[in-house]
């Protein structure tokens, strides 16, 4: 089976700064995968390379077998990205935003699916509201809806629960778990390690642009005395990065 994500020797430099150092990573279809690391480790940079928001200095990245540079159209159709920043277009309502996003992916008459997503994200009653009028949590859910309008097989969530209250976080995870059960591959970055521990079957840890650990959640937890991912994470962060 084609991997959902295949990264070979991906490198990204910003001037003299090496933001990502020759990353090799394969994520299989159907995985719920966590990408962890402290601020500035390169998580968002890696996501930006996958989504085409940034271009690699070296190496190749594929989404569902499609090279993100050479076959960017199919790669982007296969990918739904929930960005970290709470961004929105203040000119439009929630429904307009989602219709527009569907159209960018070549999909017209997508209202049935849009209604289903809105219902699952408990946004149905806000469909006609302007984006400006929504709370932060609602805007976050609209971002998730935007990533799903074209039914991508691979979904990338860049810190989707940052600043989200506990109740909403639970609702979001239930929905995302269901997407994973339906066959979607999920790539998640988060600072809430318990989320990664509970939800993800494999975890990669980045530090200063290097992939320093890649294993199943189960194996990583075996390294901990207390059985917590946080302990493993802290211990991994204290290790020196091999040059």
């Amino acid at each position: 089976m084609i991997p959902a994500i295949e990264i070979r020797g991906a490198e990204k430099r910003f001037g003299h700064l090496l933001a990502l150092n020759s990353i090799d990573l394969t994520i299989d279809q159907g995985e719920f995968f966590a990408l962890l690391g402290p601020n500035g480790a390169g998580k968002t940079t890696l996501i930006n390379l996958l989504s085409g928001l940034s271009r690699p200095t070296a190496g190749s990245l594929r989404v569902m077998g499609h090279d993100v540079t050479l076959d960017y159209k199919n790669a982007r159709k296969s990918l739904g990205v929930v960005p970290q920043e709470l961004v929105f277009d203040p000119f439009f309502s929630v429904r307009e935003t989602l219709r527009i996003q569907s159209g960018y992916f070549g999909i017209s008459n997508n209202d049935d699916w849009i209604d289903e997503i809105l219902s699952n994200l408990q946004l149905s009653d806000k469909a006609e509201n302007n984006m400006r009028t929504l709370s932060g949590g609602m805007k976050r859910r609209v971002l998730i809806a935007q990533a799903l309008v074209h039914r991508p097989p691979v979904i990338v969530l860049d810190e989707p629960t940052a600043g989200v209250d506990v109740e909403l976080r639970q609702t979001l995870w239930q929905f995302i778990k269901r997407l994973n059960q339906d066959g979607h591959t999920i790539l998640l970055t988060t600072h809430y390690l318990e989320e990664a521990e509970t939800l993800c079957n494999r975890i990669a840890i980045l530090k200063k642009g290097n992939l320093i650990r890649l294993d199943t959640t189960e194996n990583l937890l075996k390294e901990s005395i207390t059985g917590s991912l946080e302990e493993v994470f802290v211990s991994v962060m204290q290790e020196k990065v091999k040059s």
Binding site: I100, G106, I107
Partner: protein, 251 residues
Amino acid sequence: MVGFKTLLIKEIMRFWKVSFQTILAPLVSTLLYLVIFAHVLSTHSDIYPGVSYGVFLIPGLMMMAMLQNAFANSSSSLIQSKVTGNLVFILLTPLSELEFYWAYVVAAMIRGMIVGTVVLLTSLFFFKLPFANPLWIILFGCISTVVASTLGIIAGIAAEKFDQMAAWQNFIIVPLTFLSGAFYSISSLSSPWNTISRLNPFLYMIDGFRYGFFSHSDVSPWLSLTIVGGVGLVLLWITLSILKSGWRLRG
């Protein structure tokens, strides 16, 4: 095609939702120019045989408004999306560079055309305007707004903050459009200003456009068409190269 159409409609909706600012405001300022200049210079002798100053002024003001608004539309949309971060919603999609380019250009053209048409219709209440060569009017209207929109895309991509965008607007677009013969015929200028004016590509847009109304111009309309078309092609090439490279869009 659905992607292009969606981005185009979104861009049209964007300016239409704030039409007080994007249509009505430029209409009012353009008509103020017309009223003031036409009144102050009402005793001015005819610019072309049988063409009073007020009538002469209308095509120039129309084109100036069209150019400024076409530029403003693509540039402001892009800089706003960049600064607020919502450009990501376009960059994440499979839209090609050409779809991106044409959607922004056509939307900006439409805004320019709407402003120009409303200025024209309003002017017709006060002045009788000849339409000697309507095809030239349409041709120069279309090509010139494409050029201004394209320049707007370049500015919108190049600028990283609103301050830089204001510099494009105030130090490049406004002076070039004001000094393009919108308010005067360049044949009335003495040397070296006459020669210097000929280096301004906006001059050929306004002069060719004016030829469509009066069958009279300072420069041959064919030469104007060649220059405006040439500038347009160079800007198109630059814009597509920028979009392909991802400069200031894809880090």
